[in-house]
Amino acid sequence: MKDFSAITVFVLLVGSIPFFTESGVVLNFVMMALFACLLAQAWNILGGFGGQFSFGHALFFGTGAYVQVMAQVHLGCNPWIALLLAIGMSAMVGLCVGALSFRYGLKGSYFALVTLAFAEVFRIVALSVAFTGAGVGLMLPLRESFSNMQFASRAGYVWLVLGLVTLALCTTAWLRHSRFGAYLQAVRDNEDAARAIGVDPFMVKLWATVISGALMGSGGAFYVQVFQYIDPGLAFGPHTSVEALVGAIVGGMGTLWGPVVGALTLHVLADVTRNLFGQLPGINMVVYGAVLVLIVMFMPSGISGIRFHLFKQPSKTPSIGKEQV
């Protein structure tokens, strides 16, 4: 299948980068870019394919991060097992939040706001509860070894996150070609019509939330392994939620490569602008914000949307977003 061969090529190309360079800057950049891709892809599953925009995806990210740390620090778990636990817990949280929201028929901006509220609640609770370290946060003790998922060189982390990104890519590709994926997109495009032909929107959206949450959680667990410190603000703060949705939307929602392209573009943009005019702090972010607005202005279907326009392929892109008709 075309998708899977493209994914294989991508993985081989990116995975070989650590063999060509030992530059810490490049490896760190690749690692953080892939990390951004992972977040965007996770969001894309629920937002792009499912049409449910979440503003609080940090909820899953933070859950994954905290479980990863707590399992190791409080339970003495091996980090690889902890990763599975983190993914599992994030999926559970997705299940609960999804069930609650969809059971009460929340859609559109209401759904977006409720996810935001949940993320905030988790943040505030994490701040107040002792076993999450409260305001002090939690630290992972430093011990570099493969079995401890801490690598001396960034290369190890690059491959780790690449693995997670591959998982996300394969999941997205599966969505594009499977029946479940078709149901999900049908629900996105017109929930009532989908229900009329026998699709259960509740279950479909719920599962999408679970999958999306699980992937996001893996991102959180990864973050903590790299930076070895987490606190409620880093875990559940709006910064991560925004990063996830921005990458997906800018790149093109509901596509396989959109989130990857979008996340990469924004990451490059942030990196390039960070030290522009270093003497005058603030200008860099002004440029970043302005470019964001411009990208939206000139590429309303996202960056990958432009590609399709350029090559005039029979539109494989499912209709993106809800136009006001």
Partner: protein, 290 residues
């Protein structure tokens, strides 16, 4: 657990703090109720207005309450141009793009402020900043009391505009049925921009009442955004009465929650309400349509 007098003072405090929240939410509910835009730039716009009030006071010596006459129209113009010139143009009508555009705008505004005004927190000192008024056993800060009255007045004005003016009718028409309104000859783009302008003007008023009791720095807006959204949802999107009462309610909840659970955990109360309203009564307390 607490003295009745402490509870009483806490409730009053909540009401006056809530009044300022209400002012901020009034603008947002109009923008959200009519344009269906989740305006990420609302906090940054408040920050712009606060700086306006600050500089009018520091450089020209105009009292914040007098500054209302300057800041409100200025913010109106600011909002109108922002919507018509940038947001409308850039987003091509798509919801998710509007989101990104307002996000981009908020980043630009915050960092322009950082660039020009530096990161220091600034305060103004007026003759009445520390004055308190005795209501029963409670001592309420005068600026906050004035803010309460201000919120009442602004809500009333908005209600009058919506109900009795042509613009108000046009806005309600557009909110209900955009294409029908267009067919009736209403310039929808203009109405959208007017709404955004009025919403921003409300922020201007909010800034004039807020600064004497608070402070300004480039990041100050972000602290109010979530609370404002909660109030908009609680009160019912598009309802001014809802935004006003919702603001007061949230203020009181925050206050009492803070008293019993601690300021940190007490914030949870706001969001629990938020979630509960979204789940069980999404149209809010006063919202008509779903």
């Amino acid at each position: 657990m607490f003295d009745l007098s402490i509870l009483f003072a806490s409730v009053l405090n909540g009401i006056t703090t809530g009044a300022v929240y209400a002012l901020i939410a009034l603008g947002l509910t109009l923008i959200y109720g009519v344009l269906h835009i989740i305006n990420f730039a609302h906090g940054a716009s408040l920050m712009v207005a606060l700086y306006g009030v600050y500089f009018l006071r520091e450089k020209i010596g105009i009292d914040p309450y007098l500054a209302l006459t300057i800041v409100v129209p200025a913010m109106f113009a600011f909002g109108y141009v922002l919507q018509r010139g940038i947001i409308n143009r850039a987003s091509h009508g798509k919801d998710e793009n509007i989101l990104l555009v307002t996000l981009g705008i908020s980043i630009v505004l915050e960092n322009l402020a950082l660039l020009f005004f530096k990161s220091d927190t600034r305060n103004i000192e007026t003759a009445y900043t520390l004055t308190t008024v005795n209501i029963g056993t409670a001592m309420i800060a005068l600026p906050k009391l004035v803010a309460f009255i201000g919120a009442l007045v602004v809500s009333a004005i908005l209600l009058v505009v919506m109900r009795f003016t042509f613009l108000g009718r046009a806005i309600r028409a557009v909110a209900k049925e955009k294409h029908g309104a267009r067919l009736m000859g209403i310039d929808v783009d203009h109405v959208y921009a007017m709404c955004f302008g009025i919403g921003s003007a409300c922020l201007g008023a909010a800034a004039c009442f807020l600064l004497p009791a608070y402070y300004v720095n480039p990041m100050v807006g972000s602290g109010f955004v979530l609370v404002a959204f909660t109030i908009v949802v609680l009160g019912g999107m598009g309802s001014f009465v809802g935004a006003f009462l919702g603001g007061l309610l949230i203020g009181v909840v925050e206050s009492i929650g803070g008293l019993y659970l601690g300021e940190s955990l007490g914030q949870v109360g706001i969001f629990i309400i938020f979630i509960a309203v979204l789940l069980f009564r999404p149209q809010g307390l006063f919202g008509g349509r779903t």
